[in-house]
């Protein structure tokens, strides 16, 4: 028996030694060192990197580095679109935009020059293939004027167009190569797989390897006309938030996108820096306006009572440092955002008085939310539980109905949920992006708020759509303030977009449209 014990110890020691030797052995002689590589980590929501089909964070992060756009937001200032590949001019009636090719040295990753034909093809492909981002150019006619000029002609005034064109989904692709690989400008397009594996952009990077489940590798585009990126290679890996924290702390990764407020606090200066920017996402409560489906939520007094029962400061604490109150669904940095000083305040006495007026007798109201989702680190399940506790103090009883995101979203879109948590990420930084919340809008339909439900709002919306230049801000503020006052949408909090950057990166640009600019990192 003693011999057996000795054998056992010997086998275990051998195993441990083998494991230890294997674990401790590094090795990078097959591919060079890590010095010119940025390792960035995020929990993937990647479906495609075909620019005209992608509509998710991961795809957008990649396409921002791979494709150039006609216009840009310089250094992340979302209020001022500037020249990109083209300069632009809007007509007085905001119906016609003239784009003139400006960067004549721009070249695609195969060395072909960027032409007006590429711009026209890219716009028309975006429109024609009917993908998720096709709506960006809805109602816009693309017309080539000459080899330097393109006109975008809209039926109705389209002042948002300069804010739309910098989106990575409107990246300019090499039309010749894409057409040669089944690319078309209609629903028969078959170039998605090709574009996933063979990027056709003129941005600072090109795709070396694409794996939608594990990692995407980018390498520098030697034909890029702008300043050459210092980091020649970017490895974007699919990693959970918990592991991202350890990887940033250890130096294994240089960029982590998904840390929540508590995790971000664990990174001290020796390990890296935290870049916090206001998120372009809004968190809100929706109330169904249909009496049969919404129950008490359909009563304006009840909705206002809910609004008065919420402790917004605590929600800001929950969302972490840098998050903000909201007075409408429009993020505070956008044109048309209602000042956060006008955001609703907690007043329990007022809430109880309004509940009495609404005749609410404490019945439980189903409250729907996606239980598997976090928005900029804000766990929606935790947010729902917090709201339930806060509203309970005003004698409002929420019956929590958690569900996986896809199930909850399906229920919300079917317009049958009485109350719940909604999230909206800006497609482009212009107040017109929030027209969907006005009665008759596509999101408003999900709470049965039809076109004719509120004539006053319809009037304000019409006025706002006609407003020009500096008048737009005031007109949209008025519209969205009035929308918030109805209580159909209760703005909760504007979270913060946190990017952790490892200590090995000395200089970086982190801005609201790209989060972290790989090409400008040093």
């Amino acid at each position: 028996m003693k011999r057996l014990t000795r054998n056992f110890v010997a086998i275990c020691s051998t195993l441990a030694l083998t494991a230890g030797l294997a674990a401790c052995s590094g090795g990078s002689d097959d591919s060079g060192g890590a010095g010119d590589t940025i390792v960035a980590e995020t929990a993937f929501n990647l479906k495609t990197i075909d620019p005209h089909r992608q509509f998710e964070f991961t795809g957008s992060t990649i396409d921002n580095a791979v494709y150039q756009t006609a216009l840009e937001f310089e250094d992340g200032d979302l209020t001022k679109p500037t020249d990109g590949l083209c300069s632009f001019e809007m007509s007085d009636d905001d119906k016609e935009m003239t784009l003139t090719l400006k960067d004549k040295d721009a070249k695609f990753s195969n060395g072909d020059p960027v032409t007006v034909d590429d711009i026209v093809f890219s716009f028309e492909r975006l429109q024609g293939i009917k993908g998720n981002p096709s709506f960006f150019l809805d109602g816009v006619k693309v017309k080539k004027v000459d080899d330097e000029t393109v006109k975008l002609i809209s039926k109705d005034p389209n002042p948002a167009l300069p804010y739309i064109l910098p989106n990575a989904s409107i990246g300019i692709v090499n039309s010749k190569v894409v057409k040669d690989n089944e690319g078309t400008t209609d629903e028969n397009d078959g170039a998605e797989q090709f574009l996933n594996e063979n990027s056709q952009g003129s941005g600072p990077y090109k795709v070396e390897k694409y794996d939608a489940d594990s990692q995407v590798v980018l390498t520098a585009n030697e034909h890029y006309s702008g300043p050459k990126p210092k980091f020649k290679r970017v490895v974007l890996r699919n990693v959970s938030a918990e592991t991202q924290l350890t990887d940033i702390q250890s130096g294994q990764a240089q960029v982590a996108y998904d840390l929540n407020a508590d995790q971000a606090k664990q990174i001290d200066e020796s390990m890296g820096k935290i870049s916090s920017l206001p998120s372009t996402r809004s968190l809100y409560i929706f109330n169904n306006t249909d009496e049969k489906l919404g129950g008490p939520a359909a009563d304006p007094n009840f909705r206002k009572a809910v609004m008065a029962a919420i402790d917004y400061d605590k929600l800001v604490d929950l969302a972490g440092e840098g998050s903000q109150r909201m007075a409408s669904l429009v993020p505070n940095e956008f044109v048309g955002a209602v000042s956060k000083d006008d955001a609703p305040e907690r007043d329990l006495a007022k809430a109880k008085a309004l509940l009495k007026k609404a005749g609410y007798d404490g019945e439980k109201i189903p409250f729907h939310y996606p239980s598997d989702q976090a928005v900029n680190g804000v766990d929606l399940a935790q947010l729902a539980e917090t709201l339930q506790a806060q509203l309970k103090e005003a004698d409002i009883n929420l019956d929590l109905k958690p569900a996986p995101s896809s199930t909850q979203l399906d229920g919300f879109r079917s317009a049958k949920q009485p109350m719940g948590i909604g999230t909206w990420g800006a497609d482009f930084p212009d107040p017109t992006n929030y027209n969907v919340f006005i009665p008759g809008g596509s999101v408003a339909e999900r709470v049965n708020w039809g076109k004719d439900a509120d004539p006053k709002l319809a009037e304000l919306a019409a006025e706002a759509s006609k407003a020009k230049d500096s008048d737009r801000d005031a007109a949209y503020k008025k519209l969205y303030k009035a929308t918030t006052d109805t209580g159909v949408w209760i703005p909760l909090v504007q979270p913060v977009d946190t990017v952790a950057v490892g200590s090995s990166i000395q200089k970086f640009v982190s801005n609201a449209d790209t989060s972290f600019d790989f090409a400008k990192a040093e």
């Binding site: 028996m1 230890g20 674990a23 890996r237 350890t246 250890s250 294994q252 596509s442």
Partner: protein
């Protein structure tokens, strides 16, 4: 023991005893198949039926989910456009009746086509071909550690029954079985990678290392094939910690099973006789006790291996190990029906194959099974 019940019973055994007094007895009997061959053929037939059953169950279950998969694919704006919704539904074949959808699926399946992911538009078979080797590599690592450590601990525990060694091993095995994998994995990663720096970080290779040319999809094997020793050691290093974490549960399980199995065998007369004959302890332990105890243990090893191969979602998540578990999880959360059905089918086949192999191994390990 699942495998034992599948051992075939000869038809002669089932026939009534006594002489047969009719013409049938005079007929020329067809040539008899070798029992082992017949056993294999029957098992293959059953396996095909089981796989067909798996396709029905996965198809029905995925279609019972009360959510429209189109909702999971389209963004808010696109979902509001009936034209885009209808086009997407048609493109995915979701506009067809359920029975048509099933037969289309089955027909494609017979042609080796598991469909295309609704989310990434990548063929499911191609994706499974990429992620499955990662799970196999992790599963093999974990099962090797589990078998060696688990069996030895179980044996030791049984031979030292009711001593402090036995109590310690039983406590450890209980911890292995009951400790939450996600917690263990996170703590292990923090301690061994971040604090002690004795293992490399998450992933199958360091991020700046290019994977070896694909032959099997197992990075360690492919690196060896292509003579990239640095890549081999790097891949092996990355394999150690997730394999150990994944093995903890199986070690606990095998320790307990092998202990109880050895304790059963140790009381048999033939073991007492072997000891009385004065055979060396090593011979008694390994030739008499351990071999006899192996049959039930093999079943557990088989099932555990099947479970490791079919994906270890939590371990894979913490260690950014892009295996079948993560692929399945992502398919489930995004309601990607072709992925869910494809993974379900692969997991079904894995279990069927593992059980099949376990049944065959019985024949080699246990002479009684061979005789039957």
């Amino acid at each position: 023991m699942a495998g034992a019940s599948t051992v075939p019973q000869g038809t002669r055994d089932a026939a009534p005893p006594g002489p047969v007094e009719n013409d049938a007895a005079q007929r020329i009997e067809p040539p008899k198949l070798h029992p082992l061959l017949r056993f294999i053929l029957i098992r293959i037939g059953i396996s095909i039926l089981l796989i067909w059953g798996v396709t029905v169950v996965t198809f029905l279950l995925t279609n019972l989910v009360p959510t429209d998969p189109v909702a999971a694919i389209l963004g808010d704006r696109a979902a509001a456009d009936p034209e885009i919704v209808a086009q997407t539904r048609e493109k995915l074949g979701l506009d067809q009746p359920l029975i048509v959808q099933y037969f289309t699926y089955l027909s494609n399946l017979l042609h080796g086509d598991l469909g295309v992911s609704n989310q990434t538009r990548t063929p499911v078979l191609e994706s499974i071909g990429q992620v499955f080797p990662a799970s196999i590599e992790l599963g093999i690592g974990a099962i090797l550690i589990s078998v060696v450590v688990g069996l030895l601990l179980g044996l030791l525990s049984a031979l030292r029954q009711n001593t402090i060694v036995d109590h310690a091993i039983r406590t450890l095995s209980l911890i292995g079985i009951s400790a939450p994998t996600f917690w263990i994995a996170t703590v292990a990663y923090f301690v061994f990678f971040f604090k002690l720096r004795v293992v490399p970080g998450a992933g199958r290779l360091d991020p700046w290392i290019t994977p070896p040319p694909k032959a099997t999809g197992l990075y360690t094997v492919d690196a060896l094939f292509s003579g990239q020793m640095a890549t081999f050691t790097n891949a092996l290093g990355h394999l150690v910690l997730p394999s150990c974490v994944l093995a903890l549960f199986t070690i606990g399980l095998l320790t307990r099973f092998s202990r109880s199995s050895v304790l059963d065998i140790i009381r048999f007369d033939y073991v007492t006789a072997a000891k009385a004959k004065g055979l060396p302890t090593r011979t008694v332990v390994f030739k008499y006790i351990f071999r006899g105890a192996l049959v039930p243990i093999i079943t557990v090893v088989g099932l555990a291996f099947g479970s490791l191969l079919s994906g270890a979602v939590l371990t894979e998540t913490v260690f950014a190990w892009n295996g079948l578990g993560q692929y399945a999880y992502r398919g489930a959360t995004t309601l990607d029906l072709p992925v869910i059905m494809g993974v379900g089918l692969v997991i079904g086949i894995v279990y069927i194959l593992v059980n099949f192999i376990v049944d065959l191994i019985y024949g080699f390990v246990d002479p009684r099974v061979r005789v039957r």
